[in-house]
């Protein structure tokens, strides 16, 4: 789209982020909250809404929701109820979803993101707790649909931003930050492909400078960060094109299409359900005591933005480097553990973002999948630091071999590969003397000023020692006999 036309409009974007909580059991029932089990195996009579069953709130889910709220500087509601959202669908066993309409557990709040114009704080409207529905399947070749209730009743929080985002990139950054936060808080694995983190975007456009909001379109089913940015970007252009060509924008829900990056209409506003929200009379109101809230506050881990500030302050790392070290809690953890074995923080950083990152990237792994312990990495680095092996030998030969034998000690592997440098001065000295005796004419030439022959002597030394020589020591010995 022509930038000139694009600039005539401002996009207004709000996100609704569904975060599946890492609890052991469901929000209102004791059955397991585990992804990937055989269909309909984690289904108690409460999950299946058998007659006579009542919900029972999972306190752990409350705690995780509160943690997210605290991380976002939200106001935590200490008195709240759950509401019923009524609609019929086969994967909704009770015929209503238990959610929080009138009293969300976290009110307001903000999340800081980095944008091209600097740090921005994105305001939140609310974070509320609710139960997920089951999953419906509509096989193309079958006359019947199938339902898996394993997911039914699993705990979610829904984070709703104010409509204050204007760029697809901001939405991307916000979602990336949220994903990091939930991982550092250990409340969700943040896996968008498996759907444990899901994002719907509300997008509208208006003439630049206008304060009025245009008709809102909701986009669903974007399964990666990149797709969220793509979908919003395309939606903005779609809406601007409509307006430019004199068409009205329908307020509707659209489904993202992975192949094209565009979306197709799912339902219009007129078809929306009347959800008939009302307070669930089967659950007593929930009270959160000051004491408990205080305990949760005290249990809060450090969040990525705090860790970044600390790393910058303590080690003077660049913005990119701290971003790299806080990209996941596993990475940060790995780094801090490595520091227990490596004195120099920069050396440790360089190993992680250098050889180790290129290995994990090639193997399509994350740091969490790495079979090497920080202690092994520490030993590897120590070998280089003490001069027993060169950096390039360590990175190119020792590391790959170590990854093949992850339970071995780096020093043992280096020895078995013959990579350890000869640091015994007596052995080295004998070899140096042998070489000089073998080439008396070249020694003569050197002494007469052909200093370049030092390279020749070093070459001979490397040949006789398979390269396992500390170059500095070798240099010193040659100097001793030649000068």
């Amino acid at each position: 789209m022509d930038q000139e036309i694009r600039d005539k409009y401002q996009a207004v974007i709000g996100l609704e982020v569904h975060i599946q909580l890492l609890t052991r059991s469901k929000l209102f029932a004791g059955d397991s909250n585990r992804f990937g089990d055989e269909p309909n195996t984690n289904v108690s009579i409460i999950t299946l809404a058998h007659p006579g069953t009542l919900p029972k709130l999972n306190k752990r889910a409350l705690e995780l929701a509160i943690k997210m709220g605290l991380a976002c500087h939200s106001t935590i509601s200490q008195h709240m109820i759950f509401d019923r959202k009524n609609y019929f669908y086969p994967d909704l066993p009770k015929g209503y979803q238990l959610t929080q309409d009138s009293t969300p557990i976290c009110v307001g709040g903000k999340i800081g993101i980095a944008t091209h114009i600097g740090e921005r704080e994105i305001e939140l409207n609310r974070i509320h707790l609710e139960e997920d529905a089951g999953k419906s399947f509509h096989p193309h070749d079958a006359s019947e649909s199938l339902v898996d209730f394993n997911r039914a009743g699993t705990p979610l929080i829904e984070l709703v931003t104010e409509p204050t985002l204007h760029q697809p990139e901001e939405a991307y950054q916000l979602l990336a930050e949220i994903r990091k936060m939930v991982r550092f808080l250990e409340i969700c694995d943040g896996n968008m492909e498996q759907g444990s983190l899901r994002c719907d975007a509300n997008v509208s456009v208006r003439p630049a400078g206008s304060m009025e909001l245009g008709p809102k379109v909701e986009i669903k089913n974007m399964n990666s960060l990149r797709n969220v940015r793509r979908a919003i970007s395309q939606e903005i252009e779609r809406q601007i094109s409509l307006v430019e060509s004199g068409h009205a924008i329908a307020s509707e829900t659209r489904s993202f299409q992975e192949k094209t990056g565009g979306s197709v209409a799912m339902r219009t506003k007129e078809e929306l359900n009347d959800y008939r929200y009302f307070p669930d009379p089967d659950l007593s109101p929930v009270e959160i005591s000051d004491h408990w809230l205080q305990q949760i506050k005290e249990s809060m881990p450090k969040l990525p933005h705090q860790l970044k500030t600390e790393l910058q302050k303590d080690f003077g790392f660049s913005a990119d480097d701290v971003e790299f070290l806080t990209e996941s809690p596993e990475m940060y953890e790995y780094y801090t553990q490595t520091l227990e074995f490596v004195k120099d923080p920069v050396t440790a950083l360089n190993w992680l973002k250098g050889p180790i990152r290129s290995y994990t990237k090639d193997a399509n792994l994350t740091i969490a999948d790495l079979l090497l312990s920080p202690m092994q990495v520490g030993e590897l680095i120590a070998l280089v630091e003490e001069g027993a092996i060169s950096f390039s030998q360590a990175a190119q030969k020792l590391l790959p071999e170590l990854l093949q034998q992850p339970h071995s000690k780096p020093r043992d592997i280096a020895a078995s590969l013959g990579l350890l440098q000869i640091r015994d001065e007596n052995i080295l000295e004998e070899t140096v003397v042998e070489i000089l005796k073998a080439f008396p004419d070249k020694v003569e030439s050197f002494k007469n000023g052909k200093k370049g022959l030092l390279g020749f002597f070093m070459g001979q030394l490397m040949q006789r020692t398979d390269g396992n020589v500390d170059p500095k020591l070798a240099n010193e010995l040659f100097s001793k006999y030649l000068n």
Partner: protein, 476 residues
Amino acid sequence: METLTSLREIQEAIRTGATSCTQVVTSCLDNIQKHQHLNAFLQVYKEEALAQAQQIDVKIAQGQAGRLAGMVVGLKDVLCYQDHPLQASSHILEGFQSQFSGTAVQKILDEDAIIIGRNNCDEFGMGSSNENSALGPVKNGIDPQRVPGGSSGGSAVAVQCGMCHAALGSDTGGSVRQPAAFTGVIGLKPTYSRISRHGLIAYASSFDTIGILTTNIYDNALLLEVIAGADQYDSTVSKTPVPHYYHQPGDSRTYRVGYIKDTLDNEILQDDVKHQTLERLEHLKQMGHQVEPVDFPLLDYVLPTYYILTTAEASSNLSRYDGVKYGSRSDHNGDLTSFYKQSRSSGFGKEVQKRIMLGTFVLSASYYDAYYTKAQKVRKLIKDKTRELFSEYDFIVLPTTPTTAFELGSFKDNPLEMYLADLFTVQASVSGIPAISIPNGNDQDGLPIGFQIMADDFNEQGLMAFAQNILNPSYN
């Protein structure tokens, strides 16, 4: 053999060897057989009950029997009993078996009560005559042309005719008290939240209570004591300690008793009911109680409030019966919407459908504030005003029902008028307070009249004592 009805008598007779649990169960089974035409039971667990009786006889001999040993109990078809059919007298749950026992059911089993079968009722507890059962109406044991009241009609008739000694029913707006009045037995609706609702099919969750039907106060008190109390499966249940109701009944204290004057002036009140109620009030005065008329100006609002809120909750509570997971499912050919429509239209009876639609209407976006929100506010007012009465009175009394048992089919053409049968019972339900119906003589046709006593929250103990005091002053 003389029919023993109270557990005290039964246990005494078993102790002396005059009878046994097996004989007691057999006697109940005989009565069930004899009164089959009343349609009080949907299913009788004959072999099971006899087997249980034998075991309990052994336990009694060993001195290890529970407190309810010798008691035979019927369960309204809304109470979950593990591995037994459960269908709320509705087609929509045809073939369904409960996979668990509700808390109240488990507690009476743990005390060695014998469950003899499940009782017919109005579908999902919705009705005042037991004519809304998908499995046919229940008939009153006194006159089979008459209704037994509802919705716990089968339970009331079962107790009335000695088919069991006690029955657990449910009371959302009078469903235990009203049939108790129509059949001449005792019916208790305890304070809301006094008994766990775990294992009780929901009609209107913020009103539903399990209720107890018996022939005497002692049995009622003992059952309440056994089934009441905190429960990990119901977050709304009260943690208020359960007192020893059983040791308390019967005292000679004098009480401050208020009667709601408007209830006696109401034009729908049957003459005989009025007469008997006034007699009772006079009797109370003679006993030394202080009896005074009180005003309750919100009386006219109680029934509409009740119907708005209960139908709202019911419309949502009954959404789970959709033919997807269990129960009856229509042989559909069509899309999802028609699948739902067919399953629910053929599964639910007319009264249930009516209430679901009413409830859906009052919760719909355009009418929510006008009905649901307003009714919630009125409910609060009714609660507050009702509670205020107890700052001046120990008990509020009134007739349980405006009339005695009417004939089957009386309201066939005007079903809404039947709602008035609950006129006097809904106040306690809307307010959540405990209330009991006790027999208060008969009308000219020999039909039982009920006298209702309401007490403040969690004052079942006082309620029981006062009721016993009225029913059998000689016990003191």
